[in-house]
């Protein structure tokens, strides 16, 4: 009986487990553990400004045109010219019977543009340069009180280098220069717009 008692009382001790040993568990020096490292981020050519990229239609333009050989340039107004500025630095201008209208000495002068021209461009924050006219099928025909006077065809011009000021505010561009040119463009959804 006593032996049974001894055996029974021994059970809790024999059955009772100990915490598992973790002697083999690696204990690392916290200071020696690898920490995240950072390498300097790379950079890239920023490319053209995103605001100019897209398609535009002029809504209010004033430009100085030398209409007569024996008179100084005088202002013409128009609207409806179409532009596309592509991110690869190319662009296109389309004119579909665009009427530029001026007045001199009480008479109306008109210059009518039809056709397209392709160009290359670059821009900084407030300066837009048309680098070259790379292709064109564009004519300007002049009229005055006497009727049609002259038709001029646009020529390819690799050294065009026309620089204007510009300000782009999302859906509108205002382009201008010191020679009296000022053009307001409105963005269209034809190109460069998402959604």
């Amino acid at each position: 009986m006593a032996v049974l008692a001894a055996a029974a009382l021994s059970v809790p001790i024999l059955a009772r487990s100990e915490p598992e040993s973790c002697q083999d568990c690696p204990v690392a020096d916290p200071d020696a553990l690898p920490s995240p490292t950072t390498s300097p981020p790379g950079t890239r050519d920023p490319g053209p400004l995103h605001c100019l990229i897209g398609s535009w239609v002029t809504v209010d333009e004033t430009m100085m045109i030398k209409f007569y050989t024996d008179a100084d340039p005088f202002p013409f107004t128009t609207s409806g010219r179409y532009y596309e500025f592509h991110p690869d630095g190319t662009g296109v201008e389309r004119n579909n019977n665009i009427q530029m209208v001026g007045h001199l000495h009480g008479n109306e002068q008109r210059q009518v543009a039809n056709g397209w021209r392709e160009f290359t461009w670059s821009a900084t924050g407030n300066s837009l340069t048309y680098l070259a006219i790379t292709a064109a099928d564009l004519t300007y025909t002049g009229y005055d009180q006497r009727g049609q006077r002259l038709t001029i065809a646009e020529q390819v011009d690799p050294q065009h280098n026309e620089t204007n000021d510009y300000a782009c505010s999302g859906t509108q561009v205002v382009e201008s220069n010191s020679g009296g040119y000022r053009s307001v463009w409105q963005r269209t959804a034809d190109y460069g717009v998402y959604g």
Binding site: M1, A5, S10, S17, C22, V27, T43, R44
Partner: protein, 419 residues
């Protein structure tokens, strides 16, 4: 009389061995959280890169590129540094964390007046975007770091480790990932091995970004309770619909059952749903990744000691709780939850295992038991002998118990009974 003393001692010892202190009632959720929380980690994934529209080659990101950091949660599933999280937390694609680069490009486009319908616009960009690094055609850089608390609850002490992606199932292919950090002996949880039944109570655990914005920074994860509402699939990949509330930042955190086993990985909210119809990638998707890499989810000795210590604590066996949790802390000094429950157990009267009190008490009981047994044998032998002697030299004491029962030390166990 000495036999009575021995019996009384045995009863006392038996009582001590089987009667724990009064246990504090803990909910299953509290116990599950206590098991799982040490394994929860905070994950930050950072991308640096540019977005190129392959239709036009327009590159967004300027000279410096975009930098995006995404916060997620995760769980250690093998103490050797393996962490389970959601695929979208580390996936560089447009539907994963890299989608942040898309969002920044969309913001630039919107500022430039080039977005008409934001949702449709993003979809168009996602369909046509290529995410690149500094060199055209290179991949964006991705840096992942895994953080875990190493100090007392509420402290800001943390261990930050770099992580690599062991394997990844994209968001559209199961939405799970396994990371590796150069650490060992980390507290871990295991994956539930079988399908979890609809109606099973679960906890979703992670780091809600919205709460972190409103409160002091902490690495204490949040636990939200609920249940498995349904089994779902996305493109054939298994998901669990859960009723536990989850929010941004908890992505990748584990969904655990009441035994603290991972049944899912927090993945996504149901689109357009304001109530808790949330989706967790089924744990079997993680198992699939692990199997493919020859890795197993596993508990180490420290995890098992922690669980035993917790179980003891929750059943009111505070001595055992202290003993096992001390063992955890000896192996893993930075184990805030073990520290917390060890201190709670001690506060409830659990004694420090290192002072030998429990061992001495149990040894004493063993001594009593063995001595009682030995004495019984001696008594039987002696009784027979005395009966023989009595027949020759009466009178003799009817009973004798020569073993020094009042000196019950460990030595008494091996002391030769005097005849």
């Amino acid at each position: 009389m000495r036999s009575v003393l021995a019996v009384a001692g045995a009863v006392l010892c038996a009582g001590l061995a089987v009667t724990p202190a009064a246990a504090r009632q803990a909910s299953p959720e509290e116990q599950a959280a206590a098991i799982a929380r040490p394994a929860i980690v905070f994950i930050q994934s950072s991308w640096h890169g540019w977005v190129r529209d392959k239709r036009t080659s327009e590159v967004f990101g300027g000279a410096e590129g975009y930098q995006v950091t995404v916060s997620c949660s995760g769980a250690v599933i093998n103490g050797d540094g393996y962490v389970a999280t959601a695929g979208h937390c580390v996936d560089p694609g447009p539907n994963g964390g890299g989608g942040g680069l898309i969002d920044l490009a969309m913001a630039d486009l919107a500022a430039a007046g080039r977005v008409r319908d934001p949702a449709l616009g993003r979809q168009q960009l996602v369909e046509n975007a290529v995410l690149e690094g500094a060199k055209p055609g290179s991949k964006p850089t991705r840096q992942i770091q895994v953080e875990r608390a190493t100090g007392e609850p509420g402290s800001r002490s943390r261990d930050v480790a770099p992580a690599t992606v062991v394997d990844l199932a994209a968001p559209t292919e199961g939405d799970v990932a396994v990371l590796k950090v150069p650490r060992s002996n980390l507290p871990a949880v295991v994956l539930a091995g079988d399908d979890v039944a609809v109606g099973t109570p679960v906890l979703a655990i992670g780091y809600p970004a919205s709460t972190d914005e409103a409160t002091d920074p902490t690495l204490e994860p949040s636990s939200k309770n609920g249940q498995v509402s349904n089994h779902r699939s996305q493109a054939g990949h298994p998901f669990l619909e859960i009723s536990a509330a989850v929010t941004h930042g908890m992505s990748g955190g584990p969904v655990v059952d009441m035994r603290g086993r991972v049944v899912g990985v927090i993945s996504q909210l149901s689109p357009g749903e304001t109530q808790s119809f949330n989706l967790a990638a089924a744990a079997k998707s993680v198992t699939g990744l692990l199997r493919g890499k020859g890795v197993e989810d596993a508990l180490g000795p420290t995890d098992r000691n922690y669980r035993t210590g917790l179980e003891a604590y929750f059943t009111g066996d505070y001595d055992t709780a202290v003993e096992y949790l001390d063992a955890v802390l000896a192996a893993t000094p930075v184990h805030p939850q073990a520290r917390r429950y060890r201190d709670l157990a001690a506060r409830h009267g659990g004694t420090v295992s290192g002072d030998g009190t429990l061992i001495a008490l149990l040894a004493t009981c063993a001594g009593v038991a063995l001595a009682a047994g030995a004495a019984g044998i001696v008594l039987a032998v002696r009784g027979r002998r005395q009966r023989l002697v009595a027949a020759m030299n009466a009178p003799t004491p009817p009973y004798g118990f020569p073993a020094p029962v009042t000196v019950v030390t460990e030595d008494a166990v091996t002391e030769e009974p005097r005849s």
